[in-house]
Every structure is written in structure tokens, then in C-alpha cells.
């Protein structure tokens, strides 16, 4: 029976793929900077580069759709446990990765360990800047060695989650194509620059992915064509309610299940395409033009890392063929305190501010539902890493209860007022004035920099409300609405020259930022630890989280680290903006539209290129 079902399913898949075709038209708001992979992932890596060109490259491991679990891609199963070895007096950790047999590049060349070794050796040896250096951190990565045609060994300095999420997910290129260029590069004065500036025959660079770039009219469009012999065409990804994910690859005769057993309720089934013959990425220089093109039917979908501006949504909704989808972005906006300055270095002061901020009121009432209230560093959409037990200060309280809690917190810590705020019958009848610290000295004006309304009306509105709430209980907070550049300059260039500020972060599924944003080694000018947070207990668990290669263990440490941060409040996370997208439902269909960071996200394959279908 099981076999029969499988055969039937395969039949449907094959029929679906046979009858597929057509051209999907995507709009982009900027051109790609290059077709050269070394340059694309270099210092000038942009979202637009990824959208149109990354579909041709592979990686050893990737992530499952919607559940975002690490799964093998070009690797055959998971890596072996890390073993400590000593070579030439150097202690390192080694693991073995098996490669899938039978995978071919679009020119028919088999994918082998040589491609893997080459893909890691070139950027590492040439010290390529940009994302390459982040993918292969010099303090972590040592080397990759070929064992046989389908086995490689990775050597790293110490166990780390970044080994999985950065090193093992680095791009794989074809050695046959790039080796002559590399040999020539080694003869140059600056080999890295030679590799990055190489621009000959790049359209003929073989692809291991579902698409290959076949044309680039600079400033106008890119044409991606489906690879006819794509190895993973017809692959089924079946996600179970119990967390297991099963991959059936008919072309390689593979059937593997990870994270449990393939039984029980099936949440999602995805069958890999491509279902279209080609995708044209049309370049428009502004969102108005792209929206007009979508309305007119010139394009089927707009790719934009920030999604559509709210103002365009109403216009698009007038067209019954356009479907609007809204998803939480993979990022958060936050208030940071400078713990190097008084009174921000007083925990009670930070907790009082945290009590005052009613993010539900802000997000749902004041900001009109344009954003999602968020109180944790990891958004709920990141299911594996999200800690559901974190309780934010003031959760479920009314504004007056928040005032009371904040006043109490300050009083308990020894703060006092010249005129104390007074609450009677559930009303604030007397605003506080002249807040004094536990030392009895008057607290001077505290400046909170926030982006101006012109740059981001949501954050500027939030800043003004935080200012009001703080002023109500006598905290002399002043919201300085200024340019984004001024804030970044003051925080990161001028040696942490701020009291408080509001900014946002774009984040990743693997929350290594929990460590990076608050670790003591980042508490240096230009480092990510802008609050100057130091807590040895946090440091210990955060480091343990980062060093864990068992993700279940890592998650426990991450939860613990988040609890410290939640308690100490170096940041107050405010909300996660929404990514609003629009597509022509009469022209194309996607496999899913409810996902973290929108359809455009890399975790959804940059516009679900392998799932998108043209409605014939």
C-alpha cells in the first residue's frame, strides 16, 4: 500500500513537472553588481545579487522550508561527531562529510569532493573579504581535505555552531570552470582582486542549482533559465508534525528522514521544480514603477528585502488579481541603553523603562498594525530557537499599572523625585518631576536617539511615546529624532557616544547574535556590543551556546542566555516589522505564502524559484 501511494505520488509529480512551463516575471528594485560569485559574496554583497544569481550554486547543507532545520543538501547525511586531533603540534577538531553520488553540474560534469575542497580553499587562502570571511572565519576554519571522490574532512579550531551555519553552508562552485582562473590569479599581485574582477564567460559557468543566469542586460533585466538536468528535480520534502522531515530524491534513489521518524500527521509536502522554463528579473529603479508594472501585469511578483511600502497596499488591493501577503520580518527593532553611563548603568532604571513600554498598545493601536509586538531577541516565527517561556516586564498590564510598577521599581532602588508622580483612582493625577538618583543628585536630561519620521515613521512614533511615558513619571527622557547615519555614527564610530537609541537589526535563523551583540569581546569601539553589557554568567552560557554543535544542547544554552538578557535589560526589544508583498494570483502560484521574512527571503529560496508555477 505504501509503495502504491509512493508510485501514485511520483506519477502526480512527474505529470506536474511535464505539464509545467512558462516564464515568471519578477521585479527587482536594483541591478546585481556582478555575475562573479567571488565578487557577489564579497564586500558588495547585496540582496539583489542573491535573488537572481545564487540559484546556480549549491551548499553541503541547507535548511528545510518553513521549519528552518539544518538538512543535508549536497551532503549525504549529517557530518560525523567532531573529534579532537593533534597535527604538527596543533590541536584541532575534525569531522567527516559524505557527499551525494550522482549529482551533476548543468554541463554534465559530476559533482565531487574536488569541487568542495576548491570552493573552500580559494576564498580562505586568498582571504577574500566580505561574506567569505564571515562564512569561513579565520579563527574557526582550518582546512578541508579530500578523502576520496565523495568524502571530505573538515578541520576547525574549536567546536562551534558557526561551523554548521556558516562553514557548512558556504557556496560550492565548480572546480573545472574556476581552476584555470585561480591558477592565473595566483600569478597576480593581488590574486583575490583578480578572482573577484574576472568577468569572462560567466554566463557559461555551470550550475548545480535549478536555474542558471543565461542573460544579463545591465540595468534592464536578468534572464534565469531552468536547468534541464537539475538533479533534485522532483525531490519531495515531507514535513511531519512530530518535527521529522523526510527527503525523497527519485533521481538519486535516496529516501532519508531527519529529526525523528516519518510518521504521524504531515504538515507540509513540497515537490521541487523548477516548474517554469525561465524567470525574468526586470529591474525597476523605484517601487512606484515596480508597483505600476505589477498592476499592469508586466511582472508577477516584486522582490524587495523590505517588502512593499504600506502606501502601495491600498493601490494594489484595487486589483482583484493581486494577492497581498504579510509576514513578520526576520529582524527586530529595539531600544539600547548605554550601560557605561549613569543612570542607564542602574538596572532598576532600565527595568522601569521596560515596564513603561506597552508594545502591544504601540504596535496594534498607535501604529495601526503595521508591525508585530516582539519582546524577545528571537521572533516566534523562528520556531526552533524561539523561547516561549520568556516574560517581558509588564506583560498584560494596563498603562497605569505599568506606571505603578515603574515607580515602585525606581523607589525600591532608591530613586526619588522633587515632585513625585501621583496615581489616584486609576488616573495619573500628578506627573513626576525632578527625578533624583539613589545618591540624591538630580538626573540630567537623557537623550534617546531615534530615526526621524522621514526615515522611519514607526520608530519615530514609538520614540515619542516612550518619551511621553517616561516624562509622565518624571524621567527626563528626550527623544532626539535624527538621521539614521547620525545614530550609527554616534553609536559605532564615536566610541559609544549615546545615552539610549532606537535602531533595528536584520537577523539570521541561527541566533549567534545573542552572543555577538552582548559578549565582552564585542565591547570595543565599533563592536556589536553597543550597550557595553558585561555579565560573566551570561558570557559563560552564551559561549557554551555558540560552541555547541548539538543544536538541542545549543538551544538550552541560548534560552538561558536570553533569560539573563531579559532580566538585565541591556536592550528592550520593541517589535518586528512586517514584510508586505504582492503577487499576481492570476499568473503565478507559490508553494506557501505564510513564512518568516516573506517569500523574498533566502529561507524561502528568494521568491520560491523552485516552487513557483505559471498558471497556464
Amino acid at each position: 500500500m505504501k509503495k502504491f501511494l509512493l508510485v501514485t505520488l511520483m506519477g502526480i509529480v512527474v505529470a506536474g513537472l511535464v505539464f509545467a512551463g512558462g516564464t515568471a516575471n519578477y521585479a527587482m528594485l536594483s541591478d546585481v553588481t556582478s555575475l562573479n560569485i567571488w565578487s557577489m559574496l564579497g564586500p558588495n554583497a547585496t540582496a539583489w545579487n542573491f535573488y537572481a544569481t545564487m540559484g546556480k550554486y549549491g551548499s553541503l547543507y541547507g535548511m528545510s522550508d518553513l521549519t528552518y532545520q539544518v538538512v543535508p543538501s549536497l551532503a549525504d547525511g549529517f557530518w560525523t561527531p567532531l573529534e579532537k586531533v593533534t597535527e604538527d603540534g596543533t590541536t584541532m577538531y575534525v569531522t567527516t562529510v559524505k557527499l551525494l553520488k550522482g549529482v551533476t553540474w548543468s554541463d554534465g560534469t559530476p559533482f565531487t569532493a574536488d569541487d568542495v575542497v576548491f570552493s573552500y580553499e580559494v576564498p580562505f587562502k586568498l582571504q577574500m573579504p566580505g561574506n567569505w570571511m564571515s562564512n569561513l572565519p579565520p579563527d574557526l576554519f582550518i582546512k578541508v581535505v579530500k578523502v576520496d571522490d565523495y568524502t571530505v574532512k573538515f578541520y576547525i579550531t574549536h567546536p562551534s555552531g558557526n561551523f554548521i551555519y556558516s562553514i557548512l553552508m558556504s557556496a560550492i562552485v565548480q572546480k573545472k570552470f574556476w581552476e584555470p582562473v585561480y591558477e592565473e590569479a595566483l600569478k597576480q599581485k593581488d590574486p583575490a582582486q583578480y578572482m573577484m574582477s574576472y568577468d569572462k564567460d560567466l554566463l557559461s559557468e555551470p550550475s548545480i542549482g535549478a536555474f542558471t543566469v543565461s542573460q544579463w542586460q545591465k540595468g534592464a533585466y536578468l534572464l534565469d533559465k531552468a536547468v534541464p538536468n537539475y538533479t533534485f528535480k522532483g525531490q519531495q520534502e515531507i514535513e511531519y508534525a512530530n518535527g521529522a522531515v523526510r527527503y525523497v530524491i527519485p533521481s538519486l534513489n535516496q529516501d532519508n528522514t531527519y529529526y525523528g521518524t516519518a510518521q504521524g500527521t504531515v504538515n507540509n509536502t513540497f515537490v521541487t521544480g523548477p516548474y517554469v522554463d525561465s524567470i525574468i528579473y526586470r529591474i525597476y529603479q523605484n517601487q512606484t514603477a515596480a508597483v505600476s508594472a505589477l498592476m499592469k501585469g508586466e511582472v508577477d511578483y516584486i522582490l524587495n528585502p523590505n517588502g512593499l511600502q504600506k502606501g502601495f497596499v491600498q493601490q494594489l488591493q484595487t486589483n482583484p488579481n493581486i494577492k497581498i501577503v504579510e509576514n513578520p520580518s526576520l529582524g527586530f527593532q529595539y531600544i539600547a541603553f548605554n550601560l557605561r553611563r549613569y543612570p542607564m548603568n542602574n538596572k532598576a532604571f532600565r527595568v522601569a523603562i521596560a515596564y513603561l513600554i506597552d508594545r502591544d498598545l504601540l504596535a496594534n493601536k498607535i501604529l495601526g498594525g503595521n508591525t508585530n509586538p516582539l519582546s524577545s531577541l528571537v521572533p516566534p516565527g523562528n520556531k526552533f530557537w524561539y523561547n516561549p517561556n520568556l516574560k517581558a516586564y509588564g506583560d498584560g498590564m494596563t498603562t497605569i499599572q505599568r506606571y505603578q510598577a515603574a515607580i515602585k521599581t525606581l523607589k525600591d532602588a532608591g530613586f526619588s523625585w522633587l515632585i513625585e508622580p501621583k496615581i489616584e483612582n486609576g488616573q495619573l493625577v500628578q506627573r513626576g518631576q525632578g527625578l533624583m538618583g539613589p545618591d540624591g543628585k538630580l538626573i540630567k536630561q537623557i537623550t534617546m536617539m531615534a530615526p526621524s519620521a522621514g526615515y522611519d515613521p514607526i520608530r519615530s512614533t514609538a520614540a515619542l511615546w516612550v518619551e511621553k511615558w517616561a516624562n509622565d513619571i518624571g524621567i527626563p527622557l528626550y527623544a532626539d529624532l535624527t538621521s539614521f547615519n547620525n545614530i550609527v555614527d554616534a553609536v559605532f564610530n564615536q566610541n559609544f557616544n549615546f545615552d539610549m537609541y532606537i535602531l533595528g537589526w536584520g537577523i539570521t535563523i541561527y541566533p549567534s547574535y545573542i552572543y555577538e551583540f552582548f559578549s565582552s569581546d564585542q565591547n570595543v569601539p565599533g563592536g556589536f556590543n553597543s550597550p557595553g553589557y558585561t555579565n560573566p554568567d551570561f558570557e559563560k552560557v552564551a559561549k557554551a551556546f555558540l560552541d555547541s554543535t548539538d543544536m538541542n544542547v545549543a538551544r538550552e544554552y541560548a534560552f538561558k542566555a536570553e533569560e539573563y538578557l531579559n532580566e538585565d535589560v541591556p536592550y528592550i526589544v520593541l517589535f518586528a516589522p512586517n514584510v508586505i508583498e504582492g503577487y499576481r494570483a492570476d499568473r503565478i502560484s507559490f508553494a506557501y505564502t505564510k513564512c518568516l521574512d516573506g517569500i523574498q527571503s533566502g529561507y524561502s529560496g528568494y521568491g520560491e524559484t523552485i516552487y513557483v508555477k505559471v498558471i497556464q
Binding site: T33, Q215, A220, S292, N493
Partner: protein, 385 residues
């Protein structure tokens, strides 16, 4: 005498250029935030990776050292390497974008000049009539209109409502995906065609001046040569297999050219009108009329030639600025040229590219000033250097 003057002016231009390059360099580096603003927004870039980028861009050097290097490079015609297109040389990016901008804005500037010149001349001559009032008011409205508003109206009316012109972009991908032609080549061929027609017009004008004293004969030679050159060019493009791609680009140009013309013709028209109104009060115009010369001759040969000096100044300076494009026009019509390059590079803190685009424009504008001085000597016999 003239050569000495030109030599002196070139020397002045060189000094001015040094000052200009210095101002551009320090202004760009004075922008708040710096490159760090961009790098820090990507938490995937470790501080180590950020340092590597800063080193690769040469930003780890003291500012004065960067300035000395940059100055040295500029005067050896090396504009450096773009940060946002690293490691592409700035020259390559300018070479890619320039033809698109030059084609669009040269055509628009030429049309705006001729329309403005002719209408301004006619308005002044027909002063006091209803047409003068109506044209002046319309001209002032189009001259002062908020450019993005006009562009949106044009796009909506001609692109969406009537649907007769393409909405955006400079070519139609549905047509171009069937060829491996580079649009850049077509742009250059179109510019070459325009240059050839321009040369034919100039040569025929000079020949007409040399071979005949009769205005009708001169006109016949000039117009006939021009028509032959235009027809021959059109025939060449018609029989050429790439003609359809050139037609596609020209078709996409119609709406932006119309818009730029509407915005800029009125400037020429109003200047020409005012200048003509001043000129026709001069004694030599009264003398010409007293001699019994026909109205048309007095207007075109005597008044217009003198009155055109400020319009020519305007025109030549506009040609100088053609290479800088227009940020709003290029952005709203999705015409990625020099204007967009300047905007994007400034926002991306791509100092070499922004400085390169500004310096390139600056050189053209400075030489446009030199050209004006030389042209003045020919147009106004009273001016001698």
C-alpha cells in the same frame, strides 16, 4: 590671441578642477556615518570581516593620505575602484551608464533648445497678443512644476490610462531575451548615427555659406543634406537586423524625452523672449526696418541672432550637464544612467564612484564654459579676446 586666451582658460580650468576635486573628496568623506554605517548593518559581517573590507577599500589610511592618493589618481585618469561594485573600476561603470544618459538628455536638450528658441523668438515678435500670454503662462507652469508630479502624471496618462507608451525601463525584455545583443552597443550605434547626422548638418551649413550668397539656396543645401543624412540613417537601421532593438530603445525614450522637454523648453523660451524684447528696442533694429527689410529678415537675421547669446549659453551649459543626467527622471523612468549612479553611490558611501561621477560631470561643465567663451567670439563680433 585666441589661442593664448584658450591656453589661459585651460590653465584656469585645471586649477579650478584641483579645487573642485578637493571639495568633492572632503564633502563626501564628511557625510555622517561613513562606510561603517553600512557594514555594521550586516550582523553577518564579523568585525574581522569588516576590517578586511575597510583595508581592501584603502579606508584604513589617514584621510590626508587617501586624499593625496586620490588626487594623484585623478590626474593620471584613474578614478579608482568602486566600493559597491568592488573591484570594478569606476571608469567601467561610467562607460556603461554614460551612453544611456547622453542619448536621453542630449535628445531632450536639443529638442528643448529648438522649441524654446523658436517659440521665444515668436512670442517676443508677437508681443501683446493672446498667444503670448497663454504661452508664457503655460511655460511658467511647466518650468516651475514639481518634476516628480509631472512625471507621475505623464506615466499615468500615457503609460497606464492611454497605454500607448511603455511605463518604465529602457527596453522591453520580452523582445531582447531572443537576442544576445548588448544594449550598450545599440546605444553607442544610435549615438554614432546622431553624431554623423550632426556632422553632415554642420558641413552642409558651412558649404552652403561658402558656395552661395542666396538665403534660399543656402537653405536648400542645408535641408537637403540633412534630409538625405536622416533618410539614409533610417534606411540603414531599417535594413539592419538590429534596427528593431534600436527602435525599441527609441520607443522607450519617447515619454522621458517628452517630459524632460516639457520641463526644460520653457527656460529657453522665456530667456529668448526676454532677450528678444530687449533687442528689438535697439537702434539697429529700427535701422533695419527703416531700410525696408522684410519683417522675417529683421526678426531672424538681426534680432534673433543678437538675442540668442543667453540662450546659447544656457544650451551649451545644459549640454555640459547632460553627462550628469537627472536623478528624478532616471529614477522614475527606471533609466539607470549617471544621475542614478550619483545618487546610489552617495547613499552607498561609495566614495570613488560618487567622486568619479561628480568629477566627470565637473570636467564637462568646465569645458562647456570654455566652449561658450569660444562660441561667443563667433556669434558676437563685438567680443574679442
Amino acid at each position: 590671441m585666441m589661442l593664448k586666451y584658450i591656453g589661459n582658460r585651460i590653465l584656469q580650468i585645471a586649477i579650478l578642477l584641483v579645487i573642485y576635486v578637493a571639495i568633492v573628496f572632503f564633502l563626501l568623506h564628511a557625510m555622517p556615518g561613513g562606510i561603517k554605517t553600512l557594514l555594521i548593518s550586516n550582523p553577518k559581517l564579523t568585525p574581522q570581516a569588516q576590517e578586511a573590507i575597510i583595508r581592501a577599500f584603502g579606508l584604513d589610511q589617514p584621510l590626508w593620505l587617501q586624499f593625496v592618493d586620490y588626487m594623484k589618481n585623478v590626474f593620471t585618469l584613474n578614478l579608482g575602484i568602486s566600493f559597491s561594485y568592488y573591484p570594478t573600476p569606476v571608469w567601467n561603470i561610467i562607460a556603461e551608464r554614460l551612453p544611456r544618459t547622453v542619448l536621453l538628455f542630449t535628445v531632450a536638450t536639443l529638442i528643448a533648445f529648438f522649441v524654446g528658441f523658436a517659440s521665444g523668438k515668436s512670442l517676443a515678435w508677437n508681443r501683446g497678443k493672446t498667444t503670448e500670454y497663454v504661452s508664457t503662462i503655460v511655460g511658467i507652469i511647466t518650468y516651475t512644476i514639481f518634476t516628480p508630479l509631472l512625471i507621475f502624471v505623464m506615466i499615468w496618462f500615457f503609460g497606464s490610462f492611454l497605454g500607448i507608451f511603455p511605463l518604465n525601463q529602457f527596453l522591453n525584455p520580452d523582445l531582447w531575451i531572443h537576442t544576445h545583443l548588448n544594449a550598450q552597443v545599440i546605444f553607442l550605434y544610435i549615438l554614432l548615427t546622431m553624431l554623423i547626422i550632426g556632422i553632415v548638418m554642420l558641413v552642409s551649413y558651412l558649404m552652403a555659406l561658402r558656395f552661395s550668397h542666396r538665403i534660399r539656396t543656402r537653405r536648400l543645401i542645408f535641408y537637403l543634406s540633412t534630409i538625405i543624412a536622416v533618410v539614409f540613417s533610417l534606411f540603414f537601421w531599417w535594413i539592419s537586423p538590429v534596427g528593431i532593438y534600436a527602435a525599441d530603445i527609441l520607443w522607450h525614450m519617447v515619454l522621458p524625452v517628452m517630459t524632460v522637454t516639457i520641463i526644460s523648453y520653457a527656460g529657453n523660451m522665456l530667456v529668448m523672449r526676454d532677450s528678444m524684447l530687449e533687442t528689438i528696442k535697439e537702434d539697429f533694429i529700427t535701422t533695419a526696418r527703416a531700410k525696408g527689410l522684410p519683417d522675417k529678415v529683421v526678426r531672424d537675421k538681426h534680432a534673433a541672432r543678437t538675442a540668442m547669446l543667453p540662450v546659447v549659453t544656457n544650451f551649451v551649459l545644459s549640454l555640459g550637464f547632460v553627462v550628469s543626467g537627472g536623478v528624478i527622471t532616471e529614477s522614475l523612468f527606471s533609466w539607470p544612467g549617471m544621475g542614478m549612479t550619483l545618487l546610489d553611490s552617495t547613499l552607498a558611501k561609495d566614495y570613488p564612484l560618487a567622486a568619479g561621477a561628480l568629477i566627470f560631470t565637473g570636467i564637462f561643465v568646465l569645458f562647456a564654459h570654455l566652449a561658450i567663451d569660444i562660441i561667443y567670439a563667433f556669434l558676437d563680433p563685438r567680443i574679442r579676446y
